[in-house]
Assembly symmetry: C2
Homo-oligomer: 310 residues x 2
């Protein structure tokens, strides 16, 4: 089934210990939709400026991503410039130029209003709620947020959380959102605010999904998926959005929502994140095959499963 993502299309200038690139295609919606495109039909809603060319759009189109929800505005596309040190979990931002993104008021094209799976990438929670309310036929809504909104718009975010089924954030964000330094306790507090599921991304240690009481009819036991021990992370940009793309894409590709599907979705999320960091920008996500994805899924399985060696 189809999956719609609302987020950012951007140009990124990135420096890591392994090299640097200038003004390459980036943004949460780019990583998300490319990663999800290996699993299901994907539709993007975002805004770009005059500098976003047909060639940039073709990167998404070649993966079958529907781009007719992209709004073309006057001005420049969102731009981010940052640098990672040896600790790839922390980016140092040099510049954030919102440009056309500043006045982004996402409108879902009519023909996409009945899309069954929705992902609200990391944008203003007020906009997230606005999108969510436009769409009344969703089967599952995933969402992301960040420290900036947790601190800056806590009340608006609290409202948005009631409209999200599965929230995907990292350890720091979870603890900040809950005001609790114990991750499992913080996770349960976040779940009490609305989401039925909470995926906490641990970076190189993988990710854990926590479930609210009685949701998905599957009990409340958490489930943990690994990340791949990767010797050389070339560029961590977009790893979280790629995780979300794999996670939501796999779920949308399955007819039903149950614990088994969500568990596998966690693995596919980790798989897509592990590919994303192999190259600068989203490049690796443009040229994968489903066989490569399945092979890596097996590596994730072998990394964690007893009695299952290949």
């Amino acid at each position: 089934m189809a999956l719609l993502v609302v987020g950012s299309l951007a140009f990124d200038s990135i420096k890591t210990p392994r090299g640097q690139v200038d003004r390459i295609l980036g943004g949460s919606a780019t990583y998300f939709s490319l990663a999800a495109s290996y699993f299901t039909e994907v539709r993007v809603v975002a805004v770009v400026g005059d500098d976003f060319t047909a060639e940039h759009e073709a990167v998404l189109k070649r993966r079958g991503v529907a781009t007719d929800g992209i709004e073309h505005a006057r001005g420049k596309t969102f731009f981010w410039s940052g640098e990672y040190g040896e600790n790839v979990n922390e980016a140092k931002t040099h510049a954030t130029e919102l440009n056309v993104f500043q006045d982004f008021h996402p409108q879902i094209p009519k023909k996409y209003l009945d899309t069954e799976f929705l992902f609200l990438a990391n944008i203003d929670p007020v906009l997230q709620a606005g999108v969510r309310r436009q769409m009344s036929h969703t089967r599952l809504v995933g969402g992301d947020t960040m420290n900036y909104w947790i601190k800056g718009k806590p009340h608006e975010l609290a409202e948005t959380l009631k409209l999200i089924d599965v929230l995907l954030i990292n350890d720091t964000e979870t603890k900040m959102l809950a005001g609790d330094s114990s991750l499992p306790r913080a996770a349960n507090k976040v779940l009490a605010h609305g989401p039925r599921g909470l995926v906490v991304k641990h970076g190189e240690y993988g990710a854990t999904i926590f479930f609210g009481e009685g949701t998905f009819g599957i009990g409340t036991h958490p489930f943990r998926a690994p990340a791949l021990p990767i010797e050389e992370v070339r560029d961590p940009t977009g790893a979280g959005d790629s995780f979300a793309g794999g996670f939501m894409g796999y779920i949308a590709s399955q007819g039903e929502l149950n614990r088994e599907v969500l568990k596998r979705a966690m693995f596919y999320g980790g798989v897509m994140g592990s590919f994303a960091v192999e190259c600068f920008g989203p490049e690796r996500l443009t040229n994968l095959t489903r066989d490569e994805i399945e092979a890596r899924f097996q590596i994730f399985r072998e990394l964690t499963h007893l009695d299952h060696d290949a």
Copy 2:
């Protein structure tokens, strides 16, 4: 098969956000041997002072641990006092009094010299090497170390690493030992120094075992075991030693050394660590049943395995 541990017996005064205790039984050898005692025959070599009573020794004896390798010296037993904040991964040490431990020169009782499994807990690497050289029939030697020795005795430690089959340390220690901030790269550098296996403990994120080339005839793919998301860690003291006790104890209990055994040992390590933190000091490790251990093993499996719901 029997397992011998050389390490510290100590008295600990511990404060955590959940409470505090004064001068309770502790030390690496205590946690290790109690955890291992659920799997195999355990022998302790350590030194204690006049304040270590028959009652303290009985804590080990009741679990069947052989205590006749404990040397009774004049003076006081090793004492540690410390505090944990909300971040249970970091202890603030208030006092370390080595006492009789300062002149500890471990002698393995003759009747124990042919013990097949050996664990060198975190003591001076020179002493670790001395013990290792006394024992010529070992099938597997596990070892621990810490920042203090990595910085203070790097050459001595390098020699000791050549005598250890499986080293168990944490992320920070691994990176420090290798001088590399990428964990998988650091792990491979440590393996190049001697150990055939390296268990990196990630605290609340579990642990990963990395293998050297062609060791145990099982390839070099790492294996990752989870930790339990625990809402309330009452006292993290001894979690790492309890992990090591479960890991080495399970290995010693199995006839053969292969990848499947090592994978399960990683799970049992995590299981014993998860019990250790439930109470102050080693208390929880004194009153477990094998059924409780197996039940928790199943929880670890459900936490990580696809297609395996109970």
